[in-house]
């Protein structure tokens, strides 16, 4: 057998093994990424979907956050405008987790309709981009002297 063929066999073996690893890893660790409405639709279509690990991207309903005093548990509601459901999360709460934050929760829907999250990622809407509306010159919010001097 010429070396080129041998090399190709080796290469195919490596790539085949890598593809097999990828396929099996996706099957065993892939997670649905759904909106609250899609999740509700799936549960309605197939009740056994309750208990499947999913990721849900939604927005925190303002005023719904309740932190358990002295503990690490927080309950809140998320919504995509169409569906709203309660979430219970236990763990380290990110700094950016506030009212109206966009969150991604990882976990499973319980039979009681409450989503139990194991991870909570929060993305602040104003994180990198926003126009400074709040510093519009309005009475009572005076221009700091140092800055004002340069603009006169």
């Amino acid at each position: 057998m010429i070396p080129r063929t041998k090399f190709l066999i080796g290469g195919v073996l490596i790539l085949g093994a890598a593809s097999y690893l990828m396929a099996s890893a996706i099957r065993s660790t892939g997670v649905y990424y759904l909106t609250p409405q899609e999740l509700a639709g799936r549960v309605a279509a197939d009740p056994s979907f309750v208990g499947t690990g999913v990721k849900v991207g939604a927005r925190v309903v303002p005023g719904s956050i309740a932190r358990e005093p002295g503990g690490r548990e927080v309950s809140f509601q998320v919504s995509d405008g169409a569906r709203t459901f309660p979430v219970i999360y236990r763990g380290v709460i990110p700094d950016t987790f506030t009212d109206s934050a966009d969150v991604i929760v990882d976990g499973r829907m319980g039979p009681d309709g409450t989503f139990r999250a194991t991870t909570l990622l929060a993305k602040c809407a104003s994180r990198y981009e926003s126009a400074p509306d709040k510093y519009r010159t309005t009475p009572g919010y005076q221009r700091p002297a140092a800055v004002a001097a340069r603009h006169v």
Binding site: I2, P3, R4, K6, F7, G10, G11, I14, L15, A17, A18, L21, M22, S24, A25, I26, S28, T29, G30, V31, Y32, Y33, L34, E38, K55, G57, P69, G70, G71, R72, V92, I93, D95, T96, T98, I104, L121, K123, C124, R127, Y128, E129, S130, A131, P132, Y135, R136, T137, Y141, Q142, R143, P144, A146, V147, A148, R150
Partner: protein, 680 residues
């Protein structure tokens, strides 16, 4: 100055269009006057982009809040360093920064080739100008940092606290320097394809640029990991987030190219493959930017959705179409000049190295794009996370580590059995002893065990190579060991610089394997209360809360918790973690609170303390993590960067010797000196 900057941007746009137009037509018609005009336009574009950049920096330093960009990312009380780094903190500014680097590189590439590669150069300048034109157009027509606010403000938003970190001031510029440097090899590849001059000439011209790109990407990625570790507070440095993956992809294909280029130089093989690698490295850099800017994949640290995303999508499609056409129509010019002679050859080891690096790149890309792919094919978004990337990349990475040790031991073309026995004895012995020692010490995590055994193998290879080289010099030149070592590296920078890079890789793998032994504890401590835990090495740690304090710092209100640690009864330095509420220049709170991690750093492990919340006036919630060997990630990255610097440092003509295929293709100016160490 600001108006001048905005004006310069438009002039630069016109100049780039001109440079692109006349360079390509000049090259096609063979008109030297047009070619010369194109090159002058490349220099002029650079000059005007520099003026535009100085304009933005002036606006930032003067706190000119009439500009939307300045008002969005800075405030009057922002420290000077971050006011300067705000240049690349936002979308529009980072595009200008990208253009600044690209035009600087273009000017350097054109200048350094003014007497060389003259047939290629018109197309090189043309391609570089075309990419520059694209970036300037996205700024001028898409998102400009010189856009004015329709209303008056008294202060800016300030910079996101998480970006107010030295790591974040230096990580993006390095990453951009690396990303943008992939454009020059791409331009040479396009020029070589158009002119059908696909021999060693264009490769020699791009090798250093590929190294520059690799060097900055390495530094940038390391700094990014460091930033994520010290700033984000989740206890790790790599989360397989789409944005992180985007920076890894061009690094992987760039690394593959730096190895396969040697095969083409030595043996004239892999000519098609090298073109494909150079082009894909550039395309992956653009893809990475597209992913980051377009918001098509949700990532925790992506820029907000912006119109620029579509522009990048268009650039990507155009570049893929053009290069695919060029490669396909030139396939017959890319036939290999030699065949693989034996599986027991360095060529074969390098080929497998390429298969693995590209395989890893492909799996990372697949995992990153999987949500989009699954939505397109099956209608539902399926995401994959760290378990997917680890399942695929741990085995591939370990194979790659093994090849790092095997490659340098095998001879080019065909290795004999006696050669193999002689070369492998020491590294194999070193691997077996490391593995056995760890097994005896009680290590049972088999992934980590394999990683450390292989690390022992590769270290054995590297040390053996240095030992042999130094020994040969000492015998032949009568030098003492230190002089011999310095000269050995100095005279063979590519070879021994490469080994130093490999040493850095070994350090990184040791650090990654250390993750298997991480220990994490969530505790609640009131002042005076203690918490006891054992670290992975078996030491007993005791942490006593010293209480919570509040104070005001430069632009923030700080709530800090202090821990007094003892290790096996011996007092250790205090560890402090902070919650920070940033304030604007009027003392009003701005942004969400952020966390500053307390880290007690040693080579053996980090003790990583995060203040996660406060439940009473003197009660703190903490997450305490023992993170073994994290230190080796930063220093491994540094060693890799130093190795890269040694490899790319320009050699004087006295020490530079052509060898192998390149020497055969191009007549050497003088006889090649027959030195033992010149085999690279």
């Amino acid at each position: 100055m600001i108006l001048l900057g905005e004006l310069s941007l438009w002039i630069a746009l016109l100049l780039a269009a001109w440079a692109c137009l006349v360079s390509f037509t000049g090259g096609a018609l063979g008109r030297s006057d047009l070619i010369a005009s194109g090159e002058r336009a490349v220099y002029a574009t650079w000059g005007f982009v520099v003026v535009a950049s100085l304009g933005l920096w002036t606006a930032l330093l003067q706190h000119d809040f009439t500009l939307r960009y300045v008002a969005s990312y800075t405030s009057a009380n922002l420290p000077r360093l971050y006011t300067l780094s705000a240049f690349w903190a936002g979308q529009a500014g980072s595009m200008l920064f990208w253009s600044l680097i690209l035009t600087t590189y273009s000017a350097i590439a054109v200048w350094s080739n003014r007497h060389r590669n003259r047939v290629l150069m018109p197309y090189v300048s043309g391609t570089l100008a075309a990419v520059t034109l694209f970036f300037l157009a996205t700024i001028c027509f898409g998102d400009s940092p010189f856009e004015r606010l329709p209303y008056d403000v008294i202060d800016g938003n300030g910079m996101n606290p998480q970006l107010q970190n030295p790591g974040m001031a230096f990580h993006p510029p390095n990453l951009y320097l690396g990303y943008v440097a992939t454009t020059v090899p791409f331009a040479f590849a396009i020029a070589a394809l158009i002119t059908r001059r696909l021999d060693a000439e264009w490769l020699a011209a791009v090798r250093r640029w590929a190294l520059v790109s690799w060097f900055f990407l390495t530094v940038g990625i390391t700094l990014g990991m460091w930033w994520a570790y010290v700033e984000l507070g989740w206890g790790g440095y790599w989360a397989w987030d789409p944005v992180e993956n985007a920076s890894l992809l061009p690094w992987l294909t760039g690394t593959a190219f730096l190895h396969s280029i040697m095969i083409q130089e030595k043996r004239g093989m892999l000519r098609k493959w090298n073109v494909v690698l150079v082009v894909s490295t550039f395309l992956l850099a653009i893809l990475g930017t597209f992913i980051t800017r377009s918001g098509i994949i949700s990532s925790v640290h992506s820029f907000a959705q912006s119109p620029v995303g579509i522009w990048f999508g268009a650039l990507l499609v155009t570049a893929v179409a053009v290069t695919a056409y060029l490669v396909v129509t030139r396939l017959h010019n890319l036939e290999a000049k030699a065949e693989l002679e034996s599986m027991l050859s360095r060529e074969a080891a390098f080929l497998y190295n390429n298969v693995l690096l590209v395989g890893i790149a492909f799996s990372v890309m697949w995992g990153t794009l999987f949500p989009i792919l699954s939505e397109a094919v099956r209608g539902t978004k399926i995401t994959v996370g760290p378990p997917f990337f680890n399942a695929v990349n741990v085995p591939l990475g370990l194979l790659l580590l093994a090849l790092t040790g095997i490659g340098p031991l095998i001879a080019w073309r065909r290795a004999s059995v006696s050669n193999l026995r002689r070369q492998f004895a020491v590294p194999v012995f070193s691997a077996v002893s490391v593995g056995a020692l760890l097994l005896v010490l009680g290590m049972r995590e088999w992934h980590a065990l394999i990683a450390y055994t292989l690390a022992g193998f590769v270290s054995g290879t590297i040390l053996q190579e240095f030992y042999k080289g130094v020994g040969a010099r000492m015998r032949m030149h009568g030098e003492n060991p230190i002089v011999a070592l310095v000269r050995l590296i100095g005279r063979n920078r590519r070879r021994y610089g490469g080994y130093i890079v490999h040493a850095g890789v070994v350090m990184l793998f040791c650090a990654f394997a250390g993750l298997a032994f991480k220990r994490e504890f969530d505790v609640t401590l009131a002042t005076g209360q203690a918490f006891t835990a054992a670290d992975p090495y078996g030491h007993q740690w005791r942490f006593v809360s010293d209480g919570i304090s509040r104070f005001d710092a430069l632009n923030r209100q700080v709530t800090a918790v202090t821990l007094k640690p003892w290790r096996d009864g011996r007092a250790m330095p205090l560890i402090e973690s902070e919650k920070r509420q940033h304030v604007d220049s009027r003392g009003q709170p701005t942004f969400e609170p952020s966390t500053a991690v307390g880290i007690f750093e040693r080579a053996s492990q980090d003790v990583y303390v995060v203040f996660t919340g406060q439940t009473g006036p003197d009660t703190a919630e903490l997450r305490i993590t023992f993170n073994p060997l994290v230190w080796w990630v930063w220093y491994g990255g540094m060693v890799m960067a130093i190795g890269g610097l040694i490899v790319m440092w320009p050699a004087s003509d006295r020490t530079r010797a052509q060898s192998g295929y390149a020497a055969v293709m191009r007549p050497a100016t003088r006889p090649i000196p027959a030195r033992v160490s010149d085999s690279w």
